[in-house]
């Protein structure tokens, strides 16, 4: 079977990063090609080259056997469509306008809205979305916006569809729906590239699987059913079989440190993001909070730290009411925070380690005398941190952005842990890290657990939750849809149901 499109030893070099290193990829009609790899493996760059956004430094792209170079408009003429992970949509415009953007049908000089609307309605029905094409994008839910992205691509009858992490924001049920849609698209002889780092989906969907790591294709040619998750994972990691640290759960947790009851939060548009949420975290316990992104986790974290004001309910840390307290007061009261987005909220990228570490308690006697900063003492303090937390690749005065993801996370963890927090909130602490870094982060979290800190681990990665937390809560549409007390014996299907909201307050069945 002849490949519709073929990438032949494509190279793409960015300052300091070799994103793609002689990559070969062939896409066949009526087939889903799964592209797997960790964050930073070069998947997105490769797809942007395929979609014409970047031009390859070396190598060539063959469409139906002919080598050509094209920009985004050219790609669309070659019937290549891309569904981005962060939606490329204009919230203030209507669904119709977003879909026809770029190649609107024109008759008599005007956009032929009538025929466009008819065509868009057929797609909306096909994706059973009972919504008028004139509603504005900003009024749609995350799942609906994902479908609009796909309709946008189908609208110009794309032969090749690139789906970049499509299920990241979908519930398992919505993911299933997406897989059906992919099946029907395959029947229409379209070629689909499915990019993901969720192994279970890659096996379910991929007819052909290619694994990328650090800009190179490390494994290709796997057919559907020939391979298991662990084999893919090992290929991604690069062969060493490193076992991820597990929480041995020896000692029993102490008294309650953090208590939330009847917490409500409404966003700017009056939509309830957190509904009657009550939970307790005890000292020496890791409470895992799971659920698909967008179900209230980010709002919960921000409310705990004090960046958002809850609409109702109260927050107690060791019986002290902090509901109205500012971020600074809460941090003094012992709330530590490891942000899920380390590049924006976690660090000042073009700042030195000294500037990053003292942020928040620069008035502390250790660092200043109330007005003047004592740079000598700060430098000393940072040297110890680098030693204790083994942060590699750091020279004085060097900006933090030059470091690897793992070392950055260590700086954040070091800063929080050194403040002896009573409650440590860790959001997606290991997202995008290499295995070695993941283990060191887990070690630090478990040490904190042993030292009696109450740890709240918020993560979308089920495997991490199941291996670290003593107790798990699953969030669905702003309230707790399920609690797992015995983490060792719970199955992924049960948690999947809780994540999908099936069975209100379903207690964990199997003990």
């Amino acid at each position: 079977m002849e490949p519709i499109i073929e990438l032949r030893n494509v190279v793409k070099q960015f300052p300091g990063v070799l994103a793609n290193d002689h990559v070969n990829l062939a896409l066949y009609p009526g087939e889903t090609h799964a592209l797997v790899g960790e964050n930073g493996a070069g998947k997105s760059t490769l797809m942007k080259i395929l979609y014409g956004q970047y031009a390859p430094d070396e190598g060539e792209i063959l469409i139906d056997g002919i080598s050509c170079r094209y920009d985004v408009t050219g790609a669309r003429q070659h019937k290549i469509g891309m569904v981005y992970q962060n939606f490329m949509q204009i919230p203030q415009m209507s669904i119709l306008e977003n879909i026809i953007l770029g190649n609107a049908p024109v008759s008599k000089g005007m956009i032929d809205y009538a025929s466009a609307e008819k065509k868009v309605r057929t797609y909306l029905e096909r994706f059973h979305m009972p919504v008028s094409p004139h509603t504005l994008i900003r009024n749609l839910s995350v799942g609906e916006r994902q479908k609009i992205e796909i309709i946008k691509v189908l609208y110009f009858d794309a032969r090749i569809l690139i789906l970049d992490e499509p299920t990241a924001v979908l519930t398992p049920q919505e993911s299933e729906e997406l897989f059906q849609i992919i099946e029907t698209l395959k029947e229409e002889q379209r070629s689909i590239v499915f990019i993901s780092h969720k192994l279970r989906e890659v096996i379910a969907v991929g007819d052909r699987i290619t694994v990328m790591s650090k800009g190179r294709v490390v494994q290709e040619g796997w057919k559907r059913g020939e391979v298991t998750e662990t084999e893919i994972a090992r290929a991604m990691i690069g062969k060493q079989n490193v076992q991820l640290i597990q929480n041995q759960r020896e000692n029993t947790p102490g008294k309650t440190v953090l208590e939330l009851n009847k917490l409500w939060y409404f966003d700017e548009l009056g939509v309830p993001r957190l509904r009657d949420l009550s939970l307790q975290v005890r000292s020496g316990e890791i409470l895992g909070i799971g659920g698909v992104e967008g179900n209230g986790q980010t709002e919960l974290i921000r409310i705990l730290i004090g960046m958002l004001r809850p609409s109702y309910g109260e927050i107690l840390v060791e019986q002290i009411d902090l509901t109205k307290a500012s971020v600074a007061k809460r941090r003094q009261a012992g709330i530590g925070f490891v942000s899920d987005d380390r590049m924006t909220e976690g660090l000042v990228l073009d700042g030195t380690i000294e500037e990053n570490v003292i942020a928040g308690n620069e008035c502390d006697a250790k660092f200043s005398d109330g007005f003047l900063l004592k740079y000598g003492r700060i430098r000393e303090y940072c040297k110890n941190l680098i030693g204790d937390y083994d942060i590699k690749g750091l020279t004085p005065g060097k900006h933090v952005k030059m470091l690897s993801g793992g070392n950055m996370q260590k700086i954040i963890l070091a800063r929080e842990i050194e403040r002896k927090p009573k409650v440590l909130i860790a959001a997606q602490p290991t997202r995008g890290l290499d295995i070695g870094a993941i283990n060191s982060v887990r070690e630090l979290l478990l040490e904190q657990r042993k030292a009696g800190t109450a740890v709240i681990l918020v993560s979308a990665d089920l495997e991490e939750l199941m291996s670290l937390s003593d107790r798990m809560l699953i969030l669905f549409e702003g309230s707790i849809s399920g609690e797992v007390t015995d983490v060792l014996h719970v199955t992924e299907e049960e948690i999947g149901l809780m994540m999908g909201g099936a069975g209100e307050h379903a207690e964990q069945k199997s003990h």
Binding site: Q53, V72, T73, A75, R76, M82, Y84, M88, Q89, I90, P91, Q92, M93, E97, N98, I100, L101, G102, N103, A104, V106, G109, M110, I111, K152, W264, F266, D267, E268, L269, G270, V271, P272, R275, D276, S311, Y312
Partner: protein, 312 residues
């Protein structure tokens, strides 16, 4: 001075400002807040007089004005889009350049300084339509203006149609609202920006030409802040073409009102403040309104949901 003549003067006065405002509106629709409208208008005015002087024909003069301001705006666009110069700094330099150039070139071109008056047959022809006479009030107001003024009055409707109904308009709106999404939809963002600025240059040239050729003379600094009034008009109208038509006419009416009061005992400076004060309010007001509405909506749904939840 009765109301009819005041309105006629208002329309005549609003013509050039309207042309320049439409140009500025298109530029700000693609996220380029063009502060240098005054500079482009001045170049348009000066070049149209030079063109009329050399070719002896009014419309070739207008063409010359349009070409000159378009050439100038190409330089402005290249510096802003390609070299990513600070738009505000670039605009100020263009304005100082424009006033310097037009003041300097009077000498080599006309051998005079300060001002140059063309012969009267090079004036912009005034069109008299008898079918307009039939209509009682509006007919009189809209009668005997120059073609460019009529074009200026029609232009907002044309622009509204282009922006809302045509493919080019959709591209402009997309580039203005979310450039990244526009790129991913295959729109040549740079081409859209350059074309929008080119049209802006053409309209500023037309505005300048109308201003200069209606009095068939060029006087140093004759635009006298009309570019800034146009900027205030589009800010006040939130870049909506039809609203900008109304705001430009409003400012024209205010100016002609003062003329009818013969400027005695009336501080023209207060009149001068009016457009900018209104524009300032218009820049802030929608945001304040939006936040209040959200606050009320949020408060209402909060109290309802929570009380209802704990009632049962």
């Amino acid at each position: 001075m009765d109301i009819v003549t005041i309105l006629t003067v208002a329309v005549r006065h609003a013509g050039p400002v309207l042309l320049v405002a439409m140009g500025g509106l298109l530029a700000s629709r693609v996220n380029i807040f063009n502060l240098a409208l005054e500079g482009f208008m001045l170049i348009g005015a000066f070049s149209s007089i030079v063109g009329a002087f050399y070719t002896g024909n009014v419309w070739l003069g207008v063409l010359f004005g349009v070409l000159a301001s378009t050439l100038m705006i190409i330089i402005y666009a290249v510096f802003i889009i390609e070299l990513e110069v600070q738009p505000v700094v670039c605009a100020i330099s263009i304005i100082t350049l424009a006033s310097g150039l037009t003041r300097y070139l009077l000498n080599p071109v006309f051998g005079v300084s300060g001002r140059y008056v063309l012969s009267s047959e090079l004036a912009m022809p005034v069109v008299h339509m008898n079918w307009l006479e039939a209509i009682p009030v509006a007919g009189q107001i809209l009668n005997n203006h120059s073609l460019l003024v009529y074009f200026a009055l029609v232009l907002p409707f044309v622009l509204a149609f282009v922006i809302n109904k045509t493919k080019y308009g959709l591209d402009i709106r997309a580039v203005g609202m979310n450039e990244e999404a526009a790129v991913s939809a295959g729109i040549h963002v740079r081409k859209v920006k350059y074309s929008a600025l080119m049209i802006n240059g053409i309209l500023c040239g037309l505005g300048g030409a109308e201003l200069a050729l209606s009095v068939y003379m060029f006087n140093v600094g004759m635009t006298n802040g009309r570019g800034y009034t146009a900027l205030a008009a589009i800010t006040l109208a939130g870049c909506n073409p039809l609203l900008s038509l109304i705001t430009c006419l409003l400012f024209g009416f205010a100016e002609s009102l003062v003329v009818s009061l013969s400027g005695v005992g009336f501080s023209s400076y207060l009149l001068g403040m009016l457009p900018y004060a209104l524009a300032l309010v218009a820049a802030v007001a929608p945001q304040v309104a939006r936040r209040c509405i959200h606050f009320i909506k949020r408060k209402k749904s909060e109290t309802e949901m929570i009380s209802e939840y704990y009632r049962n």
